[in-house]
Symmetry: C2
Subunit: 391 residues, 2 copies
C-alpha cells in the first residue's frame, strides 16, 4: 500500500475556553491508499501540528513530517516502525513532529487493519484482549462541597473508578487539599477506586507534595498523578520513598519512548500513563507496554478526547490482563462524542471492551463533523501550502 494522501481536519467547539478540558478541539487525520482509508487523531494544538506537516524544509535534520511519510509503501507492521525511525532522523530539530506523526501513525494502523481485516491489537501480536476498568476524570470543585457532588455524580453514572484533578489542589494549603480528598472519597464510596491528579503543581518540591501523602493514604487513593515536572526524576523517586500504599503515576506528556522509559527507570513511578496522540502513536506506546511489563510498572492510557483516540490508546495494552484500568473520556464536549458513529460503552460493572472490528474498529461520523470544521489556509509567498479539504 502506497501512502497516497494525508489530510488534516481541524475541528473545534464554537467556543473554546481556558479550562483544562482537552476535548474542546481535535485534529483528525485521514490517510488514503487506493480504496483504503485510515483515521487517527493528534493530541495538541491543531494549527501547530498541521504546520509541522507542511512547513518548508529548514535543513536535512529539520524536514517537514510529510517528507517522511508521503509516497512510502507500508505492507506490514515493521514498515510503520521504520517510518518512526526515519522521522527521528529527518525531523530531529522539529520539536512538534512527534505530535503530528502520532495521528498519522494511528491512521496507518487503522488502514492496515482494514486492509487485512484484522483489529490493530491483533496486528500488534495479541491473541486475546481483556476488559478494562474505565476511570472517569473529573476536575476538583472550587470547594469541597462541589468536589463531593461531582464524586456522587460520577458514581451515579455507574463508574467504579474516578480521577479528580487540578482545580485548587496545591495552590492553598494541605488542609484544604485534604478536605477535597476526603470529599472525593465520601462522595464516591469506599469500595471504588479514587485517583488524584495535580498537574505538575509542585514542580520539584518534594516536601510540599509529601504533606499530602498521609491523607491520600488514609482515603485509600490508588495513585497520586503528576506531582512534579515530568523530567524531575529524583523528586518522583524521593516522594515514592515516603509512600506506603499510595502509588505514583506520570507520563502523559512523553513525546518519545525514551522519556517514558527514563521516568520508570530513574523516577521509579508505579503507573506510566501514555497518550498515543503525543508519544508518536501506537507502535511507540506498545514499546512502553513491553518495557513496563519487564519493570513491574502498570501501563495506563491517557485519553481525554474521542472514542477514536480511546480505541487507539487501548490497543497497545489491550492484551495484557494485569494492566487493568483505562482512562475514559466520561463527559467530553459534544465534538468529541460526535467524531465516531459507534462508541466504546462501559458495562454495568464499569468495564469497557476494545472494539473487535478491523483497524481501530470505530467509524468516523463525517456528516456530523462538518459543523466543527475550521477552515485553515497557510500560504508562503502567495503559494498555498495548506488548505483544509472537504470532510
Amino acid at each position: 500500500m502506497k501512502i497516497e494522501n494525508i489530510e488534516f481536519f481541524y475541528l473545534s467547539m464554537p467556543e473554546v475556553n481556558n479550562s483544562v478540558d482537552g476535548s474542546q478541539d481535535a485534529l483528525l487525520v485521514r490517510v488514503t491508499s487506493g480504496d483504503h482509508v485510515g483515521y487517527g487523531e493528534c493530541e495538541a494544538s491543531p494549527l501547530t501540528s498541521i504546520s509541522a506537516y507542511v512547513c518548508p524544509l529548514s535543513h536535512g535534520a529539520c524536514r517537514p513530517v510529510k517528507d517522511t511519510v508521503l509516497g512510502e509503501i507500508i505492507e506490514k507492521p515493521e514498515d510503520i516502525h521504520r517510518l518512526r525511525n526515519k522521522l527521528h532522523l529527518n525531523s530531529m530539530d522539529l520539536l512538534q513532529a512527534p505530535h503530528t506523526f502520532s495521528g498519522i501513525e494511528m491512521a496507518l494502523w487503522d488502514l492496515m487493519g482494514k486492509k487485512y481485516n484484522e483489529p490493530v491489537w491483533s496486528l500488534l501480536g495479541y491473541k486475546e484482549v481483556f476488559p478494562k476498568l474505565a476511570y472517569f476524570s473529573v476536575l476538583f470543585g472550587d470547594n469541597p462541597d462541589i468536589t463531593y457532588m461531582r464524586a456522587r455524580d460520577a458514581k451515579k453514572l455507574g463508574f467504579k473508578a474516578v480521577k479528580f484533578g487540578w482545580g485548587p489542589i496545591g495552590k492553598l494549603n494541605s488542609k484544604t487539599d485534604a478536605e477535597h480528598f476526603i470529599a472525593a472519597r465520601e462522595g464516591f464510596g469506599e469500595e471504588n477506586y479514587v485517583m488524584v491528579d495535580v498537574g505538575q503543581i509542585f514542580i520539584d518540591d518534594v516536601e510540599k507534595a509529601s504533606e499530602r501523602v498521609d491523607i491520600l493514604e488514609k482515603i485509600n487513593a490508588t495513585w497520586l498523578e503528576e506531582p512534579f515536572h515530568a523530567y524531575e526524576y529524583d523528586s518522583f523517586k524521593n516522594l515514592k520513598s515516603k509512600c506506603k500504599r499510595l502509588r505514583i503515576a506520570s507520563g502523559e506528556g512523553c513525546h518519545n519512548t525514551y522519556m517514558a522509559k527514563n521516568l520508570m527507570k530513574y523516577g521509579q513511578i508505579d503507573f506510566v500513563q501514555i497518550d498515543c496522540g503525543r508519544i508518536g502513536g501506537i507502535g511507540p506506546a506498545k514499546e512502553i507496554v513491553d518495557f513496563a511489563i519487564k519493570n513491574n510498572v502498570t501501563y495506563v492510557n491517557h485519553t481525554f478526547t474521542s472514542h477514536l483516540a480511546l480505541s487507539a490508546s487501548m490497543q497497545p495494552f489491550s492484551g495484557v490482563e494485569d494492566f487493568f484500568i483505562s482512562e475514559y473520556p466520561g463527559n467530553p464536549m459534544k465534538l468529541a462524542t460526535e467524531i465516531t458513529v459507534n462508541s466504546i460503552d462501559k458495562d454495568k460493572n464499569g468495564y469497557i471492551k476494545i472494539p473487535d472490528g478491523p483497524g481501530l474498529g470505530v467509524d468516523i461520523n463525517l456528516p456530523s463533523l462538518k459543523k466543527y470544521l475550521r477552515n485553515v489556509e497557510i500560504s508562503i509567498d502567495s503559494n498555498t501550502i495548506f488548505q483544509s479539504s472537504e470532510l
Copy 2:
C-alpha cells in the same frame, strides 16, 4: 516596559537543500516596547514556531505562546524568568512552545539591555567577560582526502579548533571512520583542538560507538559529540567508562533545563552544549551554566546561524573563564552573515570576544534582509491570524 508588539520574520535562502546546514533559514523576532526594540532568533522550523505563537487556544494547558507574553510588564531580569514559568503552565501541551519562546526571550534581554544601557551579560550578573576560543564546524568529506582538505582549509582560515561532523561516520565501519579521524588531525595540525560530532548515529549502541574510542584517543580528539539519542543516559555513561582521555559532549537538542541537567546527572557527559534558540532562551541557558559549574561539566554554546544568535549564545557563559571554547558559525550561508551589521570576529589567535554594546550588542541589518523575507499568511475561517510584517 510593556511588551506591546512581537513580530516574526521568516527569512530563507532562495534554495534550501537537505544538507544539515542550519543557516539556510532563520526566524528573527522583534519585540517592541515604546521606543525600545529588541531582537532574538528562534532555532528550528520558522513556520511551525510562528504557528505556536498565533495558534488558537486548545485548552487551559495548551495556549498560544502570545498569551504568555503580549501585554506583560518587564522591568528586571526576574520578570523574564517569571514569563518562562508562566509559559510552562500555559503551554505544557504545546510541544513547539519552547522553540518559539526562545527567540522572544532573547529579544526581551536585548530590549532590557538597551533600555538600561547595559550588555546582557552584565544583567546576568557578570562583572567581567573572557575571550573564548572559536571552534569551526565542518562536515566530514565523502572520503578521507576531502576531510583532509577541509581540515587544512579550516587551519588556513586561522582557526585553532575545529569540529568535524556527520557525513559517512558510523554508516560504514570503524576502519573507514578511523581514516577520516586521522585525516582531520593531519590536515589541522597537532597543536590544535579537534572534535568529532556523529549526530546520534549510534542511537543506543555502546559497542559500536566504543569501537571508535581508541582511534579518537590516538588523534587526541577533545570530545566525541552526540554518539547517542539525547535521552539515552545509560549509553552515555557506559561509553564514558570506556574512555581514558576522550570526553563526551551532548545537549544541543535540549528544549528545557531539565533535559540538560538529566544529561549531566545521569549521562555524566563532560561538555554540555546548549542552543539558546531551543532551550527557552538566555535565562534557562544561564541556569545550565550554574548547574554545570557545580557539577564539573564544561558548558559550550551550540550555534550554527547568525552573529545575533552567537551573541545571545555567548552571554550565559561569557563570564566564566573555565568555559573556554565557543562554537562559531565559520562558514554560514549569506543570509546568516547579513542578519547583523557588526560581527563577532576572531583575533589572530583564534579567539572571539562578546560584544560590549547594550543588549546583545549587535545591530540588525534590516535593509539587507528584505530579499530573504518569506511572506507568511495564516488564516482560519477566513480571518487572518498571521501576516508577515514589514522589516
